[in-house]
């Protein structure tokens, strides 16, 4: 259900861009207005989300740890798994963000011979990791179309990414890896029953959207070509606030751009916001110093207390009369 709904949503988006540009001649809308709107939505939306998270108090340290806490000197402290200071947190966070360390511990659960058994499951980690890294490289690689003059080191990305030298224009490996890994992430939701059960439209939609972006990009680079010089002019126009719509930019580019705009605009309001979110996860970004530092709950209010001493002072005479023992005469 969710999968079909998402697939059709993406297809309809493609059709909207196609019809808008081909039939409606709305080049300015799809080439300038929508991309700007998407950039503004993305930036303000992400900042809004960050401020919203920052408004939640974290009164106590709640890192999820999996190593020995700092303790007596002769007990070996696991500095990264159970960081006791900011340096440890930075190392832990770097491993998490760059290598998806916690996902590496992913397990699969099965019932075998009427027993629940757990086994190692690294495919999700591998697919997730290569997917994110190739996405990053692809975005960096696009900078050659965003800026002019292009800084020299951009050639490095091209020569690494295209080092197989297959075809002309040469095949970029990250494009292939992206499609394969997104396809894995998608099929996993179709074929692993437990994952299928918990998958919703908002899990499928980003996957189909990214597949759509990848497909249109690859189509444009290798198959139905666009005039890249004019296309770059359009993009440079956007990024230097001098928008223009040059001739000879194929409709496939507008479809690609529209899907990318949708992705960016959708970003702050969906699960994709885990990009800034990972840095604000209290289970990751806190050092485990609950035992060495006192953390005061910010919503504690002063509690009125009445100690026994005060009580006795107040009722001493009455207590004596009734024969109740008192501490002070």
């Amino acid at each position: 259900m969710g999968a079909l709904f998402s697939l059709f949503t993406v297809l309809i988006l493609v059709l909207i861009a196609f019809a808008g540009v081909k039939a409606g001649n709305l080049h300015f809308l799809f080439g300038v207005v929508i991309p700007y709107a998407a950039i503004i939505t993305f930036i303000t939306g992400v900042i809004y989300r960050i401020l919203k998270w920052a408004g939640s108090p974290v009164p106590f340290r709640i890192p999820t740890t999996c190593g020995q806490q700092k303790s007596l000197p002769w007990i070996k402290h696991s500095k990264i798994e159970n960081p006791s200071n900011t340096l440890g947190v930075i190392k832990r966070m770097a491993l998490e963000v760059l290598l998806f360390r916690s996902l590496f511990r992913n397990l699969k659960t099965e019932i075998r011979e009427e027993k629940v058994v757990y086994g190692s499951e690294k495919w999700l980690w591998l697919a997730g990791l290569v997917f994110h890294w190739s996405f990053l490289i692809i975005i960096l690689r696009h900078f050659r179309l965003f800026v002019d003059p292009v800084p020299a080191f951009m050639h490095l990305i091209e020569s690494f990414d295209g080092f197989l030298q297959i075809g002309v224009p040469r095949l970029f490996i990250t494009g292939v890896i992206l499609l394969v890994s997104v396809a894995y992430l998608l099929f996993r939701r179709f074929f692993i029953q437990q994952v299928r059960y918990i998958s919703l439209a908002n899990d499928y939609f980003p996957l189909f959207l990214i597949l759509g972006i990848g497909f249109t990009g690859i189509l444009m680079r290798y198959f139905t070509k666009v005039d890249l010089v004019n296309t770059k002019q359009l993009i440079i126009g956007l990024f230097s606030f001098k928008p223009e719509i040059p001739e000879g930019v194929g409709v496939i580019f507008y479809i690609h751009l529209f899907l990318v705009s949708i992705l960016f605009a959708y970003f702050p309001f969906s699960k994709l916001v885990h990009m800034p979110g990972v840095f604000l996860s209290p289970t990751r970004n806190l050092s485990n110093n609950n035992r060495t530092k006192r953390h005061i709950n910010p919503w504690n209010y002063p509690v009125k207390v009445h100690t026994y001493e005060d009580y006795e002072n107040e009722f001493r005479e009455k207590m004596k009369k009734a024969g109740i023992p008192v501490e002070k005469e």
Partner: protein
Amino acid sequence: MKIYDGGKILIGIIIFLLVATSPFSYNMGKASVKPEPKLDTPEIQKMEKKQCVEPKEFMKAEHMTLLNDWRDSVVREGNNVYIGLGGEVYNMSLQGTCMKCHSNKKKFCDECHKYVAVKPYCWDCHIPPKEN
């Protein structure tokens, strides 16, 4: 609304803004010039009707695929005759045909390629025309 750890949040937001707006800030104050490939080579000057192997719009977008087809055709099939626009017959060759007309590689091919930051690796082996 109270913001906790305001300093760290601010640093994070500033980094995010710097990264997210980097294409804008990089382009600021830089005038981008559209490449103008020059056609003033002796070979092209001599032509009566100035035309390429295929129509100009096709060449602009697809010359790399055309070159790939030429290469495969010559190297794999041993066929080096190409019938182009208007029935002209061309010998499929990078150095011998393309670069004979476009002998101003620096002012022609490189002009565009610098703009979109591609460095075709063809010139690792093929020899570009001599220019002063």
